[in-house]
């Protein structure tokens, strides 16, 4: 029997549902290949629920726990949460527990834990980052996670696919972050609700994994259920480098599979973008906001502090200094990235320029760690969200931009066009 052509996402969900095919709009129950939790939404929330139900974790080998939100502890409350997380991982025999190694969405792929074709869930809205490896990974809340932990399954509505085709190649000083900010401003999030954002086209094929991660990561801000990119040689190279291999779940979508719509992006025409407070949807070209004063520049988060992001910042900051009245805070997304950046000279460039090195974790991105803002302060950040009050005071402003543009603002003390600093 021949089946109707299926998208990449349909194929993964069909396999996980034990079916040949699935249709968009259908509700299916899928078995979960990987369940990721962090210290904020994870053990501290699911432990009491498991106890209340007298239930056990279905398969500790498929569970990953990452402490990244409250690291390192800054007060007794955060220390207690981290302690609880550690003890729970030990008691439940979750072997894959990463304590202060970095932000979950980066630590998982660094350890080869996300493999093409997987059906994964994560207790965090940016779990869609895993889609960069050609997996379906969706964010869930703690009670949904409890259901997964007890049964190993979850119900989902099969999403239709909206394909974002990025034509041509990225111009100098423009990055995946700029593509996503541009899409946040131009795509109606309601039109993405329950859809999967699939990224394709020559500009995506040319991207290294860390840039593809940024695309999938900010699918959350687009309003999509998740993001996904077809696995290819770049995906395989990453997996080989981390010693993981491709696994046996990999699938590709059928080229003739029906999708809901295609959005074509004229990548070479893109300028660096900035999102004004308090929403990623308030994005426009950097040239419209030149001269807006900033008090803090933040290079951090799963979105904007991977090795490649640090390289972008270093290109701008090489031989330059952070302006006197600005602080540039740098929180590499993982300890592995910190080590790599130390080895390849990037950290030297950044710290010589005046960057202040912070621990690897969510930190100021979630308003929990170092780098919180006071009333009236203005921060430009390589993070993904600039909601009111997210980085501290609800009377502070957060602008979002690429690492290039954040670095350029740090140098001039005001929003600036990074292209002028990239000789």
């Amino acid at each position: 029997m021949t089946h109707p052509p299926q998208t990449l996402t349909q194929k993964i969900l069909a396999r996980a549902a034990g079916r040949d095919t699935v249709r968009p709009g259908e509700i299916v129950t899928v078995s979960v290949d990987l369940a990721m939790m962090h210290d904020s939404g994870g053990p501290r929330r699911v432990k009491p629920m498991l106890e209340r139900l007298g239930a056990q974790v279905w398969d500790p080998e498929k569970v990953v726990v990452v402490s990244d939100h409250f690291v390192p502890a800054v007060d007794v409350d955060s220390a207690q949460i981290l302690d609880l997380t550690r003890k729970w991982a030990r008691e439940t025999q979750v072997r894959r527990f990463f304590d202060m190694k970095g932000i979950c969405h980066v630590v998982l792929p660094e350890n080869g834990l996300i493999q093409p074709g997987m059906m994964a869930v994560g207790g965090d809205s940016h779990s869609c980052t895993g889609g960069a490896w050609g997996a379906v990974m969706v964010g869930v809340g703690a009670t949904d996670m409890l259901g997964v932990l007890v049964t190993g399954e979850i119900w989902l509505r099969v999403p239709s696919t909206v394909r974002f085709t990025c034509q041509g190649s990225l111009p100098p000083g423009v990055s995946a972050k700029d593509i996503m900010l541009h899409l946040c401003a131009t795509v109606d999030p309601v039109s993405m609700n329950y859809r999967v954002a699939e990224y394709a086209g020559p500009a995506v094929e040319a991207m290294e994994m860390s840039e593809r991660m940024t695309l999938c990561n900010m699918s959350a801000e687009l309003g999509a259920k998740t993001g996904i990119i077809a696995p290819d040689a770049t995906t395989h190279d990453w997996l080989a480098q981390v010693g993981a291999g491709v696994g046996d779940l990999e699938v590709l979508g059928d080229p003739e599979a029906e999708i809901e719509r295609e959005v074509v992006i004229d990548t070479p025409a893109l300028a660096p973008q900035v999102a004004a407070p308090h929403s990623p949807a308030n994005t426009h070209a950097v040239t419209d906001s030149l001269g807006t004063r900033v008090t803090q520049a933040y290079i951090g988060a799963c979105t904007g502090a991977k090795l490649n992001d640090l390289h972008m910042a270093a290109k701008v900051l090489k031989g330059r200094r952070v302006a006197d009245d600005v602080r540039l805070l740098l929180a590499p997304a993982s300890t592995k990235i910190t080590a790599e950046a130390a080895r390849d000279g990037t950290l030297e460039i950044l710290t010589e320029a005046g960057a202040i090195l912070l621990p690897s974790g969510c930190g100021a991105c979630a308003g929990m760690g170092a780098g919180i803002l006071a009333d009236g302060e203005v921060c430009i950040a390589s993070t993904s969200r600039n909601f009111q009050g997210r980085m501290g005071s609800s009377k502070a402003e957060v602008w979002l931009a690429s690492p290039y543009t954040v670095a350029a603002a740090a140098v001039t003390g005001a929003i600036a066009d990074p292209r002028e600093m990239l000789a």
């Binding site: 929330r45 809205s125 964010g139 809340g141």
Partner: protein, 161 residues
């Protein structure tokens, strides 16, 4: 199960940081709930009464996967949210915690302070003045879980039966 309460009206993109500010993430949820929506409506936590209804525009609950966003509304007595659209994680979280949330295309036309009766199974919201707004109904099976107080109490109930 019907919800009969007074409305509090909000706009588009009410995000999870407005509903459950990150600064209170480490402490008890009751403390966080006192700051629910205060960034845009400082009186909301004090003003809201048991059974009240929140109305809003597009993308209610956008942002984080934190369930506290729904819990904070529940702790402020909110019995139901009507919005033109919801962010999907928030939508699931709310139902999982026993908070009925309904997609209502005309939610933004309901003035603040309106006495409203919502019937989640029928998918209607009726203003005291008589105007009826149609909503996407919550399927009966899902409503059983919501009426039980969410997934956990529902599982407890069904396990002991």
């Amino acid at each position: 199960m019907k919800i009969d309460g007074t409305t509090h009206a909000f706009g588009d993109r009410i995000d999870t940081d407005l509903l459950s500010p990150g600064a209170y993430m480490k402490g008890p949820i009751e403390e966080m709930a006192k700051h629910c929506l205060e960034a845009i409506d400082p009186e909301f936590p004090a003003r809201s009464q048991l059974g009240d209804i929140v109305t809003a525009g597009f993308e209610f609950g956008t942002g984080s996967s934190r369930e506290q966003a729904a819990s904070c509304l529940l702790l402020n007595g909110i019995g139901c949210v009507l919005a033109r659209s919801f962010a999907r994680i928030f939508y699931r979280n709310a139902l999982n915690l026993g908070l009925p949330v309904l997609v209502c295309p005309t939610a933004h036309e309901i003035p603040a302070g309106t006495r409203l009766v919502v019937d989640p199974l029928a998918g209607t919201a009726t203003e005291a003045g008589g105007r009826v707004h149609s909503c996407e109904p919550i399927p009966e099976r899902l409503m059983q879980m919501v009426a039980a107080g969410g997934l956990i109490p529902f599982l407890e109930q069904t396990r002991t039966q």
